[in-house]
């Protein structure tokens, strides 16, 4: 990234009197140093949750999907709720690294690495659910269009579930490549700093022989741009396709043409909220306050406000259309009077509260730039977006076309256990990442020091003190 001119009124993106070397030291510190007590506590909790989840998954696969709370009329509930929730979370990473890269938003440099890591780890969790929600997961590979000896059997290209398989796997692979490309110079930096031979060897392997030559940098820039171009449509496509799991079906409340844009907005909304949550913790734990600043928090909150606004408008139009049709079948969609006053009223109002009302606090500047404020709001949005998917799935399925099929859903400990397990798995991956990977794209951050560093800005403005 070449240094462009930057308006003096822009706030600095890197605080403190940082030299290039300071940045290397700051970023390498969590990797080269010893983990503190908090890290061990968090890792232990995550690991226990992960193991508990593995136990619950083993129980499910060994006994049958019947150990979940599903029934003949509600064939999906927590499984697909969790799937969509995790996929949604996995949206911020690519948006930040690809779309913001194309728009030359430099503030993304401090957060894109972790956001992408989060994306990849979240997609791992998401990918787990479609597999384990199958009645016969050992035959899960049948959804792949691979040549087989079952006769002329082939997958059904009409099925949105099959589109999911392609969308998710493409997204995961492109995200992974993009992430790794960005990591190369940083791994090389760690390799060069490493004193232990084993560590050096590992980072040498991970950095794919990065030499730092001008040609390396040129190719790096080109590949980044190409991958950003490839990844940008994926930001839109993945959740569009996930939304088609619902939108192409015939259930009132699912069968809705507004779903693709609305789901994409919701996904970015939840993804940014999750980035806020993770960075809120990480900047404290790894002492990166100078890199992840108020400015980053505020910018992300602005994206949250925008996408949250789109989501709120989508809710309103869903509610309006359900009422406007005058069809009795629309009386109980997840956005309807029936839902608000029915057995799942609590879930409906949780969604309204967490997804619409609480995020409105971000209009207040003091909350918008407050670390603790936006951390708490991001948690609320994470909960709210989970409820959104739960409402769409469970409320709609609980009141189908025929009144004789109306029923309810109650999760079992296995449903809850698997969800907690994925949070634990996500935590384990993220904590290991925080200890072994450069959590900030230091090579890129260094490139903006001369335009956006606090130090530089002071120098330029002649504020020598």
């Amino acid at each position: 990234m070449s240094s462009h001119y930057e308006a003096p009124i822009r706030e600095p993106l890197v605080l403190g009197e940082k030299s290039y070397h300071d940045i290397s030291v700051d970023i390498a510190k969590p990797i080269e140093g010893k983990a503190n007590k908090n890290w061990y506590i968090a890792f232990t909790i995550s690991l226990i949750a992960f193991l508990w989840g593995i136990g619950c998954i083993t129980y499910t696969i060994g006994t049958g999907i019947g150990v979940w709370g599903l029934n003949k009329n509600i064939g999906w509930a927590w499984d697909i709720t969790n799937f969509v929730w995790w996929v949604g979370i996995g949206h911020a990473g690519t948006l930040i690294s690809a779309v913001l890269l194309l728009f030359r938003q430099r503030w993304r440099m401090a957060i894109n690495r972790s956001a992408e890591a989060m994306t990849i780890f979240a997609v791992f969790q998401a990918g787990l659910f479609p597999l384990i929600h199958m009645g016969r997961p050992w035959n899960g590979y049948w959804v792949l269009p691979i040549p087989n000896q079952f006769g002329s059997l082939w997958v059904n290209f009409n099925s949105p579930l099959l589109w999911d398989v392609f969308a998710i796997s493409t997204y995961l692979s492109v995200s992974l490549v993009f992430w790794w490309t960005g990591l190369l110079p940083d791994f090389a930096m760690l390799r060069d700093r490493a004193v232990k031979p084993f560590q050096k060897k590992i980072y040498a392997l991970l950095s794919f022989g990065w030499s730092g030559r001008a040609k390396d940098w040129q190719r790096f820039e080109e590949v980044s741009l190409v991958l950003a171009g490839l990844a940008t449509p994926l930001v839109l496509s993945v959740h569009t396709i996930v939304s088609m799991d619902f939108a192409t079906s015939i259930n009132p409340g699912w069968h809705s043409t507004i779903f693709p844009p609305y789901f994409v907005a919701g996904a970015i909304f939840s993804g940014f909220a999750m980035v806020q949550t993770l960075l809120g913790v990480m900047r404290k734990v790894t002492n990166l306050e100078n890199y992840i600043t108020r400015l980053h928090i505020e910018y992300m909150n602005m994206v949250i406000m925008l996408t949250g606004g789109i989501v709120a408008v989508a809710y309103a139009s869903e509610f309006f259309i359900a009422w406007y049709t005058g069809s009795p079948y629309e009386n109980f969609t997840y956005m309807s009077v029936g839902a608000a006053t029915g057995a799942y009223g609590w879930a409906f109002w949780s969604l309204i509260l967490f997804n619409i009302l609480i995020p409105q606090l971000l209009w207040i500047k003091s909350i918008r730039v407050s670390f603790i404020g936006s951390f708490l709001i991001s948690i609320a949005i994470n909960i709210g977006m989970w409820f959104e998917r739960f409402d769409i799935i469970a409320i709609v399925l609980s009141k189908g076309h025929l009144p004789s099929t109306w029923t309810r859903f109650e999760p079992t400990f296995v449903d809850v256990g698997i969800f907690i397990g994925t949070i634990g798995f996500f935590g384990v991956l993220f904590l290991l990442y925080a200890r072994t990977f450069p959590v900030i794209a230091q090579a890129e951050v260094k490139s903006i020091m001369k335009v956006s560093g606090e130090n530089y800005k002071k120098l330029r403005d002649g504020n020598h003190e």
Binding site: M134, G135, S159, L402, E410
Partner: protein, 1019 residues
């Protein structure tokens, strides 16, 4: 040490060969050198050292893999193949079920010598209910008595015969009385046999006992017509039917009336009978009635007398009831119908039955038939009570019970047990070691009717034969064979039966033909009526009628009946057609009484309902912890409770559900004055339907009145059978005119449709059990049904009407603009106090544009050339997307492994129970979706048979092949090929009543519904 000789040479000690042999193991040189010594050949060989090692590796791996054996399934071929059995092809036998409660002419499908399905014997006009359909599984009940027992210890038949013969001789010598206590037999040959037995053994009395007694009607009919039988009814030409406390579409007087009832209610003939039901419990008859008058049991008595007075103009002693205005209207209706009217009553009082007979006689009713009378209930309450008294007084020498379980079903069972102890010889013939068999000295196993010979006269002039369809599974002996042996005869019952038929019944016609048909008919003779003293009857009826704050009516549930098949999982899992609860009996109570007494049925978060418990007391007898279920349409101040539950002997633990209500049926009366008390505890119901009304979605279940239907000026397509409209290019068009799909040409080959007539469906549930039997549908048990995981491929939805319909609700809201609209709309979800009821059988709709087919990622569900939506179990990975996308919610998922799993200890976990499985239908594994297949195994069989015989498939052939439509007694389900113009289905498809469920979705279903017609015309 043993010595093994290698050759004769060894005899010669000095033989050089022997010496050589001792030195060398091999006599001749082994050609190793020749093989390996030649370096050149070796070098030329393409087998390198590495190749050699590969071969070794491969053969080791192959050998060890071959050692991993698959499970061994033994199938034993016939040593001598029976002539009539071809493996893979079914055989059908006509036979008759007569278990004392259910009587029916049936056709039994056997495969490789195993009965697997019961069908009605349509040649013999047979109809089957759910219990008859399920009886094939009772044959394979693993808890059947497998050999004779003496005081709980195994014994042998020869010992039993010797001992009982000796005892009988002693009793005869002592002049002591021998009593045969049986359920209703209605068997001419057995009656003759009993006469022979009596002749041989002296003082013998035959007492018949029905757990659910029709003794009052039998007494009344006997008094008037001189023969102990039940009058028959033919409703096919009836104009007005007034039933007072008579569930004639259920088990009233043996049931079996639904066929003629619906025959008289075919709206397309322009007229249908008007059915007025006066009752307290919500019964199947009440659910089907055009008008339902809700009165307590004690008021039913006065309703009957008032009806009599209003029709005849007499003034018998009576009392005014709250519903007299309705009764007077009913009387007018009856008078208008004249000879085409009929009055039925289930009041268990001889005088009430006399009044009903007198009223029918006054009307000169052609509906009641006093000539071809029914013999399917023979129980004599007075004789039974006398017997118990005599037993306790020590006047009885021996009691033989057969086809009855008095220790379980008698209210005064303790007295009976006491008396049994005083009897010198007590012998119970029983199919399982039930309550009675375990109290008697001898428990003798009887064969199931599918293993036995027999005959039955269900009604005058109609004789049916029972023949074995399988070799006896256990060491059983027929009651009749034992009686023959103990009468000193060496004849088998088969010979006796055949001789009796040839001499007394067949009148020279062929026995083989009768056996083939399963039935033989002759002419019934008229019974002469005496005059009835109605006045005396009415006054003593009035005097005998007691009123109470709470009146209990015991009834036999559709599924379990009198309880003799309570160990049958298909029946336990069959939801009650009215409450849709399975695996339970419960006290039904009106909403008003429930509110007053503090009972409720809260819905749980898992979609199940709970209930409270009550203790019910009748004359000091308490039945504890009866769950309470609120029943719309239950008369205030009345309760209902089903008998047949709460059995514990010879029952699998899963099947021991409900409470035994028989102790409340004191003096064999089902109506009792009871008191009720709420007790602590929460009951978990297994109810399949939570939403009881149609919630304003009227196009799901279309109905109209006969008047509107007959009015030719009204176009059904624009009124009661309106097609949903959509906008196409700003024009309002029928939704059927718009289609996203290119239609295939479906006019070639077979194309199946199923028509379901909502007017003709009485909700009996026979089709549900037939589907279970034909398609190996698993039973999942109470808990799984409770949490909404029943596996019924075919279910019968039941809807109650709400107090206001959507239109009148709209008007109400507009009138009173201050009312809270949301609450008002919720009123559509609350059933009315006395609701109209409609049944809607629902199975896979086999959509031509099936939403399930497009969403399956692995294409496991696809469309058949004949219109079926086909499910490929092997391919299914179990995403359940298809079920979510099915607007009819007919797809069923295998949440667990339901076979060979001790968690689901039903027939598929049982070496006997598994014998009922249909070999043509795969047993599904866990994790796959399943659903109705339109019985493709049967339709293909029909097609192949026709092809082999070089003919076209005959009209109706498909209809008889498919399990549900062939089981339907009323013809509500009609299955057929729409490309075959002579098939009945073609006309059904064109009928003005035909509609497709949720047509607006555009799924283009192959299942049609015929709108329900109610005769609302009031005189």
């Amino acid at each position: 040490m043993k010595k093994y000789w290698k050759s004769v040479e060894e005899l010669n000690e000095n033989s050089s060969i022997v010496a050589k042999l001792e030195e060398k193991e091999f006599v001749s040189e082994i050609a190793t050198d020749e093989f390996l010594g030649d370096k050149e050949t070796l070098e030329e060989s393409s087998t390198s050292r590495r190749d050699f090692l590969k071969y070794v590796g491969f053969s080791t791996a192959a050998a060890s893999l071959a050692a991993c054996e698959g499970p061994v399934r033994k199938s034993i071929p016939y040593v001598v193949k029976p002539e009539e059995i071809t493996p893979g092809l079914p055989n059908f036998y006509a036979t008759t079920i007569a278990d004392g409660y259910d009587f029916a002419n049936v056709l039994v499908k056997t495969r490789e010598g195993r009965p697997i399905l019961i069908k009605p014997n349509k040649l013999a006009n047979g109809t089957t209910n759910a219990r008859v359909q399920a009886s094939v599984l009772s044959l394979y009940d693993s808890l059947r008595l497998k050999g004779p027992k003496l005081k709980g210890n195994d014994t042998t038949w020869s010992d039993v015969n010797a001992q009982i013969k000796a005892s009988l001789a002693d009793l005869k010598a002592g002049g002591e009385k021998v009593v045969l206590l049986t359920g209703t037999l209605a068997s001419p040959s057995t009656e003759k046999l009993i006469a022979d037995f009596t002749a041989a053994n002296g003082n013998v009395q035959h007492v018949q006992y029905d757990a659910v007694s029709e003794s009052a009607t039998l007494d009344a009919f006997q008094e008037v017509y001189g023969t102990r039988a039940l009058p028959n009814y033919d409703f096919s030409d009836a104009e007005t039917i007034v039933a007072i406390g008579a569930d004639f579409l259920g088990d009233w007087q043996g049931g079996g009336f639904e066929k003629s009832y619906t025959a008289g209610r075919q709206a397309d003939t322009g007229k249908m009978s008007r059915h007025i039901q006066v009752e307290a419990n919500m019964t199947l008859s009440g659910a089907n009635a055009d008008k339902r008058i809700v009165v307590k049991p004690s008021e039913q008595v006065f309703a009957l007398i008032n009806l009599y007075n209003a029709v005849t103009g007499e003034s018998l002693p009576s009392k005014a009831t709250a519903k007299d205005a309705d009764i007077i209207k009913a009387a007018k209706q009856l008078k208008k119908a004249g000879t085409k009217g009929a009055v039925l009553t289930g009041i268990q009082d001889k005088n009430a039955q006399l009044i009903a007979l007198a009223l029918n006689a006054y009307l000169n009713s052609s509906v009641i038939d006093t000539a071809t009378v029914k013999y399917t209930r023979q129980g004599n309450d007075a004789e039974v009570q006398q017997l118990i008294a005599d037993m306790n007084a020590g006047k009885i020498g021996a009691v033989f019970t057969f086809n009855t379980n008095p220790v379980y079903t008698l209210a005064n069972s303790a007295e009976f047990v006491n008396g049994l102890k005083k009897v010198k010889l007590s012998v119970a013939f029983a199919s399982s070691e039930d309550e009675t068999a375990s109290k008697a000295q001898y428990a003798l196993p009887t064969p199931h009717y599918l293993e036995a010979w027999g005959d039955v006269q269900m009604q005058a002039g109609s004789y049916s034969l029972t023949q074995p369809t399988v070799n006896p599974l256990f060491d059983t002996k027929q009651f009749q064979d034992c009686l023959l042996a103990w009468s000193g005869s060496s004849e088998s019952y088969y010979d006796f039966l055949k001789n009796n038929w040839n001499s007394a019944i067949l009148g020279g016609t062929s026995w083989n033909q009768a056996l083939h048909d399963g039935v033989f008919t002759s002419k019934a003779s008229e019974n002469k009526a005496k005059t009835i003293d109605v006045a005396t009857a009415a006054s003593s009826l009035k005097a005998a009628t007691k009123e109470g704050a709470f009146e209990l009516t015991l009834f036999s549930a559709t599924a379990i009946g009198d309880g003799q098949q309570a160990n049958n999982p298909w029946l336990q899992e069959l939801p009650d057609p009215i409450t849709r609860a399975s695996w339970d009996n419960y006290l039904t109570i009106s909403q008003a009484d429930a509110t007053a007494l503090g009972f409720s049925n809260p819905v749980q978060d898992n979609g199940a309902i709970n209930g409270d418990y009550a203790n019910i007391t009748v004359n000091g007898v308490v039945v504890e912890n009866v769950p309470v279920l609120i029943q719309p349409g239950q008369a205030k101040g009345s309760f209902g409770l089903a008998v047949g539950y709460g059995k514990t002997k010879a029952m699998k633990s899963e099947m021991q559900v409900g409470v035994n209500a028989y102790p409340l049926a004191q003096d064999l009366k089902v109506v009792q004055i009871a008191s009720i008390e709420k007790v602590s505890g929460t009951h978990k119901f297994a109810c399949e339907q939570l939403q009881h009304t149609i919630a304003g979605r009227y196009e799901i279940l279309k109905e109209t009145s006969l008047e509107t239907y007959n009015d030719k000026s009204i176009d059904p397509k624009h009124s009661w059978n309106e097609v949903t409209k959509v906008s196409l290019k700003h024009e309002e068009v029928d939704v059927t005119a718009v289609d996203l799909w290119d239609d295939q040409d479906r006019s070639i080959g077979h194309h199946f449709n199923l028509s379901i007539d909502l007017s003709d469906c009485t909700g009996c549930g026979a089709c549900v059990v037939a589907c279970h039997a034909e398609n190996n549908v698993p039973v999942v048990g109470k808990h799984e049904v409770r949490v909404g995981r029943d596996m019924h491929w075919l279910r019968i939805d039941r809807y109650y009407s709400s107090e206001l319909d959507a239109d009148s609700l709209e008007r109400e809201i507009n009138k009173n603009s201050t009312s809270d609209k949301v609450d008002d709309y919720y009123a559509l979800e609350v059933p009315a106090e006395n609701p109209q009821v409609a049944f809607q059988p629902l199975m896979c709709q086999h959509c031509n544009h099936a939403p399930c087919e497009t969403v399956c990622p692995v294409a496991a569900t696809s469309h058949g050339r004949q219109g079926q939506n086909q499910m490929t179990y092997n391919r299914c990975v179990g995403t359940r997307y298809c079920a979510n996308n099915c607007p009819y919610r007919v797809r069923r998922f295998n949440w667990f492994k339901y076979n060979e799993n001790s968690e689901f200890d039903f027939n598929m976990n049982d070496e006997y129970g598994k014998m009922v499985l249909n070999p043509d239908v795969v047993v599904r594994s866990r994790g796959v979706m399943e659903k109705c297949s339109f019985c493709i195994q049967s339709t293909q069989q029909v097609i192949l048979n026709a092809k082999k015989e070089g003919r076209k498939v005959a009209p109706g052939e498909f209809n008889n092949a498919v399990a549900c439509s062939s089981a339907c007694a009323t013809g509500a389900l009609v299955f057929g090929d729409v490309n075959e113009s002579e098939d009945e289905i073609v006309a059904k498809k064109e009928d003005s009543r035909a509609y497709r469920l949720l047509e607006a979705i555009g799924t283009d279903n192959n299942v049609l519904y015929q709108a329900k017609i109610r005769n609302t015309e009031e005189v």
